[in-house]
């Protein structure tokens, strides 16, 4: 059993008021709040440990490097990677995807195919469009079913010997759907294609084991899992990462620089040019520790309880339609109310202290599929409570009453 009050006490921001009301934060899909341990770790780095990593012989540089690498090891354990050099630090999920897409530009030719899905975030669409434009490869799209799940029959039909990469999200940020990535990975591999999973909405909500799941690449962001902004991870199998050319040139990523030619460093440094977000990476460990202490499975179970409760309560409001209605869902409720614009709902509940997201959630193709301008989205984190769900539902009811 989780002691939610004890968990909440670790998040200073949850004590603040907005518009004179207690903050009720249900925009966790956009970014989660940070526990004191993460805030302290970031401050402590600048107060006591600040030095550049992997460069100096002096004490502080050694200390910063050790702590930086400690996070890498912690993440390796957290996601069950085989080697710690399979963990590449990036700026975030978007950066991780761009790194892979940039590499594939040089590996793909005309006639090759990349498969993505209709539910992808723009950051898992546009890099592949750019990749195809330059390499001459073709982009194929797995369509969505009306319940917000992937049309797996179509996926199998799209797969062919020409498929070189399948890039899909683990959990849809706009619908909450958990995709059957085990099956996708297995089927893609059977055709000789590699698989990249966008795990931005999954990483603190679903237990991850890279060796069991077996993706070739997996990406996520620290800030959506209680960590700092500006830090992300690209996991890649050793062979898959080695096959990609470097992303950015600069310091740290080289073995030897000559004007006749430069040789590149080994993994992970080959992909970590320039001074990284050292403070952020070090503080990210505190976020992972926070998650592991609670246990991802325990978190998932609690979030699912809240999801079921919030779903049943919101459906009691007349005219509510939820987008994303599969059984296998993570803590996201995307909804509209008949005749009302999500923007109007968001503006009013905001005044009542409730933070939800409104708009297209960077997933315009989903909005086009359902022929809607956007949705209002509630996204749950472990520090949310049933009482907060009630406040949120009442705020939505108030908005409906004012707008109707």
């Amino acid at each position: 059993m989780l002691d939610i009050n004890k968990i909440r006490a670790q998040f200073p921001i949850l004590n603040r008021k907005v518009n004179g009301k207690e903050l009720v934060y249900f925009d966790n899909g956009a970014t989660t709040q940070k526990p004191q341990a993460v805030i302290d770790a970031e401050a402590n780095y600048y107060s006591n440990e600040n030095a550049n990593v992997h460069r100096g012989v002096h004490f502080l540089s050694g200390l910063a490097t050790d702590k930086f690498e400690e996070t890498r090891n912690t993440i390796q354990a957290f996601i069950g990677a085989k080697h710690n050099h399979e963990i590449i630090f990036t700026k975030g999920t978007t950066d991780s995807i761009n790194l892979v897409a940039n590499g594939f530009r040089t590996l793909l030719n005309k006639g090759d195919e990349i498969i993505i899905s209709e539910m992808e975030h723009h950051s898992n669409i546009v890099p592949w469009q750019m990749c195809c434009e330059i390499s001459g490869a073709t982009l194929k799209v797995i369509p969505l079913l009306n319940n917000g799940s992937l049309d797996m029959d179509s996926f199998e039909k799209l797969l062919s010997e020409n498929t070189k990469l399948v890039a899909v999200s683990h959990v849809s940020n706009a619908l909450g759907t958990i995709n059957p990535i085990e099956i996708i990975i297995e089927k893609a591999h059977a055709k000789g294609a590699q698989v990249m999973i966008d795990g931005a909405q999954a990483a603190s909500h679903i237990v991850l084991d890279m060796q069991k799941l077996n993706p070739d690449f997996y990406c996520f962001s620290a800030h959506k899992m209680f960590g700092p902004t500006g830090v992300g991870v690209l996991y890649g199998k050793e062979d898959s990462l080695n096959a990609l050319p470097p992303y950015q040139g600069g310091g740290e990523m080289i073995k030897e620089v000559n004007f006749s030619g430069t040789s590149y460093a080994c993994l992970p440094h080959k992909f970590e040019a320039g001074t990284p977000n050292i403070a952020g990476v070090i503080a990210f460990k505190a976020a992972i520790d926070f998650i592991t202490e609670l246990g991802v499975e325990t978190i998932a179970k609690y979030e699912d309880e809240l999801l079921q409760y919030a779903t049943s309560e919101i459906l009691k409001i007349e005219g509510v339609k939820i987008f994303g209605t599969t059984k296998n869902k993570s803590g996201i409720i995307s909804f509209n109310i008949d005749g009302l614009h999500p923007y109007d709902i968001g503006m009013i509940v905001d005044k009542l202290g409730v933070a939800i997201r409104t708009g297209h959630h960077c997933t315009q193709p989903i909005m086009q599929k359902f022929n809607i301008p956007g949705t209002a989205r509630i996204s749950i984190a472990v520090y949310n409570t049933k009482a907060e769900v009630d406040v949120c539902i009442n705020a939505i009811k108030k908005a409906k009453q004012m707008l109707s």
């Binding site: 109007d344 503006m347 005044k351 004012m402 707008l403």
Partner: protein, 138 residues
């Protein structure tokens, strides 16, 4: 014929009656509902204002030397905001519209009610209205 300045003073007076945001929002919602409809033929891509979270269509015509604006939005509160702008700027001459000082927006606290992205939408609306006036000046 009311001047832009007088209309602004009236709107400020309207808003002074409200004690809290809830009443302001209800007023905006009412204004949105009452806004005269735009003709369907003008609800086109070209008339959409960029920079708004919701879709806003704005059309302008010159009648007897004055500009008449019509608008619509799929979000009711946005519609309320544009209704206020129309009340101030519609049926004025281009030169009056171009030189209009719209400081009433700050006085009634409309910008504070909107987040930065949404306030940008408000700025885009005003800009588009003034651009129409510029285009119709000659």
């Amino acid at each position: 014929m009311e001047t832009i300045k007088n209309i602004q003073a009236e709107i400020i007076e309207d808003f002074e009656m409200f004690d809290d945001w809830m009443q302001k929002y209800e007023f905006l919602i009412d204004l949105g509902k009452e806004l005269a409809p735009i003709e369907e033929q003008y609800k086109i891509e070209d008339n959409l204002i960029k920079g708004c979270q919701s879709r806003v269509w704005l059309h302008a015509e010159k009648q007897d030397g004055k500009i008449v604006y019509t608008a619509d939005s799929d979000a009711i509160m946005t519609k309320g905001i544009i209704a206020i702008l129309i009340r101030v700027l519609s049926k004025q001459t281009p030169s009056e519209i171009i030189s209009a000082d719209l400081s009433f927006i700050d006085t009634i606290g409309l910008k504070e009610q909107l987040s930065a992205t949404r306030a940008n939408g408000l700025v885009s609306m005003i800009k588009k209205m003034k651009l129409y006036a510029l285009a119709y000046q000659n």
